[in-house]
């Protein structure tokens, strides 16, 4: 809808239009369900319960995007990788900054209303970039998980703490890094710590009191369904085998799930098994690691699951954001679409978990094909040989996007990227690293340099590169690809005007034509972009916001 058209519509139905653009007051559960109908706001981590990172705002178009101008910058005072996604709620923006601050800003000017400061326990144990990716909102309350495994409720008007609940032991390696998901009267979170031998869980807390309402363990205990996939050790095992491996089985949660209000199911991706690489000490499929779980939002009961990588030995966390697509490819089926770290794109029936599609979107050699139920036929590579995709995956936690307008699913991918694995047995010790070896080479090239890429890209073409890959969401067929020289950890945003915004480690923030992948605009933000862009509207002006380096950059047409 163009601005002109919208003005006409406003004239015809002034009251309805006014309500749609200036809704003040509390964020009700119903507003969260209908978040896509108020595109001036960005109400959840992924934009809506459907997690498509797609906006119907269309003021910025392929024709005028080259005129985007920087409006303001907010600089974080805290050094380190910054991965937050802002919320924009009725004229206020909420972000998190390291380690666990919440900042309320004016989305028009970037000026700060208040800062809530939280200092996590100094003895916290957090792997892989101690970070926080954002808050959730309900009513006038914000919710945040902390690095020392607490959930905190904060007054959205004042930044004052309302309640705080400890959900697990931080000194045992539990942490929370993702933005919570509010469903009705509960705030749902999961715990990280997959590299420390935790027993992962997803739990819901009463929004008023902070009391735990339900808890679902991602590693089933004795007597629970799925526990049989933690098989007994062979009587004469030649390598170390832990008969109680499930107790330290990992299954961390570190990206925000989705919610289908009609089915009342919430979908979450479960992380890697512990230990990550030493598969022989934990025989079996190791449910529900590297899986999607569909839980009843009221009581946490498991409705269905699908395991992307049974008995994972590659650290292929299934922590990607579950993207919900209604009437998938005009089939009448509502699906969860999923580009997995293991290099495959999937579609699953949202009601039943039925496997509908699995197709590689990058080079894959850890498996050959799927059986009719969607179980991969695994093809482990010989010792010393590269496994594709590598340890960081064909994609990872970077938010994908689905545009109902193009029917395309957009992925931040690492192409031609492999690792050579070196597993080793490991004994569990509380709070200690529990990976069981690791990748000896994060490339197919022995002796290639390590992970330091930007600002000097020493990896080059020899060890893979980044790309935005657009798939036909129905078939998984690649429609176009936008190559980057360095890799990318950026999320993706698409809009109704067929724009796609994304970043990368090189520090460029780019707008592509969502239909063709053509580059339409770019700007250099000076440091790696490790977050997902969002868009919102204030008055009649559309804004695009993205975190890059230590800056939150906001663009609009002048």
């Amino acid at each position: 809808m163009t601005t002109k058209t919208r003005l006409v519509v406003c004239g015809l139905a002034g009251l309805i239009c006014l309500l749609s653009v200036r809704v003040h007051g509390q964020v009700t559960p119903q507003r969260l369900v209908n978040a896509t109908t108020e595109p001036q706001n960005w109400l959840t981590y992924s934009g809506s319960y459907w997690s498509q990172r797609y906006s119907t705002l269309d003021q910025i178009t392929p024709a005028n995007v080259r005129n985007l101008k920087l409006q303001w910058v907010y600089q974080s005072p805290v050094a380190g990788n910054w991965q937050t996604t802002p919320l924009v709620v009725d004229g206020v923006m909420y972000i998190t900054q390291r380690p666990n601050d919440v900042v309320a800003l004016d989305p028009l000017t970037g000026r700060v209303f208040w800062i809530y400061r939280y200092t996590p326990n100094e003895n916290r144990i957090v792997c892989c970039g101690a970070n926080n990716r954002g808050v959730a909102i309900l009513g006038d309350t914000l919710f945040m998980g902390t690095l020392d495994a607490h959930v905190i409720a904060i007054d959205a008007k004042t930044g004052r703490e309302m309640w705080k609940t400890q959900v697990a032991s931080t000194t045992s390696g539990y942490s929370i890094t993702h933005a919570p998901l509010v469903i009705k009267d509960k705030v749902v979170i999961g715990v990280g710590g997959g590299e420390y031998g935790i027993r992962g869980f997803i739990a819901a807390y009463n929004v008023e009191t902070g009391k735990e309402a339900w808890r679902f363990y991602t590693i089933p205990g004795p007597g629970e369904k799925g526990h049989e996939t933690w098989e007994a050790c062979p009587p004469k095992s030649e390598s170390f085998c832990d008969p109680e491996a499930w107790k330290h089985g990992g299954g961390s949660i570190w990206m925000t799930g989705s919610y289908d209000p009609k089915l009342n199911l919430t979908y979450w991706g479960v992380g890697n098994v512990g230990p990550d690489y030493a598969g022989s000490q934990r025989p079996g499929d190791n449910l529900y690691t590297a899986s999607i779980v569909a839980l009843d939002a009221d009581n946490g009961t498991l409705r269905w699951h699908y395991q992307f990588t049974p008995h994972d030995v590659y650290d292929y966390d299934a922590v990607q954001v579950p993207v919900m697509i209604d009437n998938w490819g005009n089939t009448g089926i509502d699906v969860v679409a999923w580009a997995n770290r293991n290099g495959n794109y999937y579609a699953l029936d949202r009601a039943t978990g039925r496997f509908l599609l699995g197709k590689p979107f990058v080079k894959v050699n850890w498996m050959s094909d799927f059986d009719e139920r969607g179980r991969p036929n695994q093809t482990p590579q010989p010792p010393g040989q590269p496994t594709y995709p590598g340890n960081q995956g064909g994609t990872n936690w970077y938010s994908p996007s689905f545009s109902p307008r193009t029917g395309l699913f957009y992925i931040s991918a690492w192409e031609d990227y492999a690792s050579i694995y070196g597993p080793s047995p490991v004994e569990y010790k509380e709070g200690r690293n529990f990976t069981g070896g690791g990748p000896r080479n994060n490339s197919a090239v022995p002796g290639a340099p390590g992970f330091s890429r930007a600002p000097i890209n020493t990896w080059t073409e020899a060890a893979g590169h980044g790309a935005v890959i657009a798939l036909d969401a129905r078939t998984g067929q690649r429609q176009w690809k936008f190559d980057m020289t360095d890799v990318t950890d950026s999320g993706i945003l698409t809009t109704a005007s067929n724009l796609l915004f994304t970043g990368g480690r090189e520090g460029f923030f780019q707008a592509l034509d969502a239909r063709t992948g053509a580059l339409l605009w770019k700007t250099n933000l000076g440091s790696a972009i490790n977050s997902g862009p969002i868009t919102y509207r204030i008055g009649n002006k559309q804004y695009v916001a993205v975190v890059g380096g230590l800056g939150l950059f906001v663009f609009a047409l002048d």
Binding site: S237, E238, S239, F240, C241, D242, S280, P383, G384, Y421, G422, P423, S424, P425, V426, E427, G437, G438, V445, G447, A448, P449, P455, I456, N457, T458, W459, T460, E461, A462, A463, D483, M484, T485, D486, G504, E506, F508, K522
Partner: protein
């Protein structure tokens, strides 16, 4: 004082061999051993790395652990296996972290030193230190600046060309084994970022040089006249990356003693 600290570094690593925890016993600790079918560490440690590590051991470890690696009761470094450090990565982490409770301080070794000490510890049981004939750094420098012609392309300190990678601190960055391979098979050891590039702009300008950095839209090089260029890929009509190093192999032009001397010199280059 510094030396005293340094000599106790490996004591805790060794201690791990001697005393196993009760919990490890309970979980069938005999099987918590390296899985050789999956190669926890490089199967072959270059002899020059072992030699280098032997020198480090003699300088920094021998006072506590002794020539045979068994001077501390219940500890036998010569076994090459360590309870708290199965893989080489874990061994490196352990040595760098130390363990105050056992009187072992953190110990900073650069990557080359760690590669050397690891190679030596893994081969201590079979390696005969009496056979070690390390190269002579002074002779190596003479070859580097003279007969070898290295300074025509490389630079150390204030001497030499900037066309090829600066080697002023190469001895702390690359292991002796890697340096030796570079002398004998330069293309095989060339870092991908250093691959020679040939750039032809749309206006016909040609730039030949070494890649310093590259992104989606541009490339940065130092050319064969030591000039820095940053060129937009949109301005190029030809962009070629070669996998062949311009550096010659010294396999046939220097004898093994001279190679060892040059290697000794390169190992001595630790920057300032």
């Amino acid at each position: 004082m510094k030396r005293v600290f340094a000599t106790v570094v490996l004591s805790l690593v060794a201690g791990a061999v001697g005393v196993r925890s009760a919990s490890a016993q309970a979980t069938n600790d005999a099987r918590l051993k390296p899985d050789t079918t999956n190669q926890l560490h490089d199967a072959q440690y270059p002899e020059v790395d072992i030699v280098y590590g032997a020198g480090l051991y003699k300088a920094r470890c021998v006072t506590c652990h002794g020539d045979q690696g068994d001077a501390i009761g219940g500890v036998n470094l010569r076994s090459g296996k360590f309870r708290n450090a199965v893989t080489d990565t874990e061994l490196a982490r352990f040595i760098r972290a130390g363990s105050p409770a056992a009187g072992m301080p953190p110990f900073a070794l650069d990557n080359a030193e760690m590669a050397g000490i690891t190679a030596y510890l893994r081969n201590m049981n079979t390696f005969d230190t009496a056979s070690v004939k390390a190269g002579d750094a002074a002779r190596g420098r003479a070859i580097f600046e003279g007969k070898g012609g290295c300074v025509a392309c490389h630079r150390v300190g204030l001497v030499g060309s900037r066309v090829a990678p600066n080697l002023s601190d190469i001895g702390s960055q690359r292991s002796p084994g890697s340096l030796q391979r570079s002398l004998l098979d330069p293309s095989g050891q060339m870092m991908p970022i250093n691959r020679p590039v040939r750039l032809v702009k749309k206006d016909g300008t040609i730039v030949n040089g070494r890649r310093l950095n590259e992104d989606t839209y541009s490339i940065q090089v130092i050319d064969d006249k030591e000039r820095l260029h940053s060129i937009l890929k949109a301005d190029l009509k030809e962009f070629t990356i070669s996998k062949t190093s311009p550096m010659p192999s010294f396999k046939d032009t220097l004898n093994s003693g001279e190679i060892a001397d040059v290697l000794g010199y390169l190992q001595s280059l630790k920057g300032q």
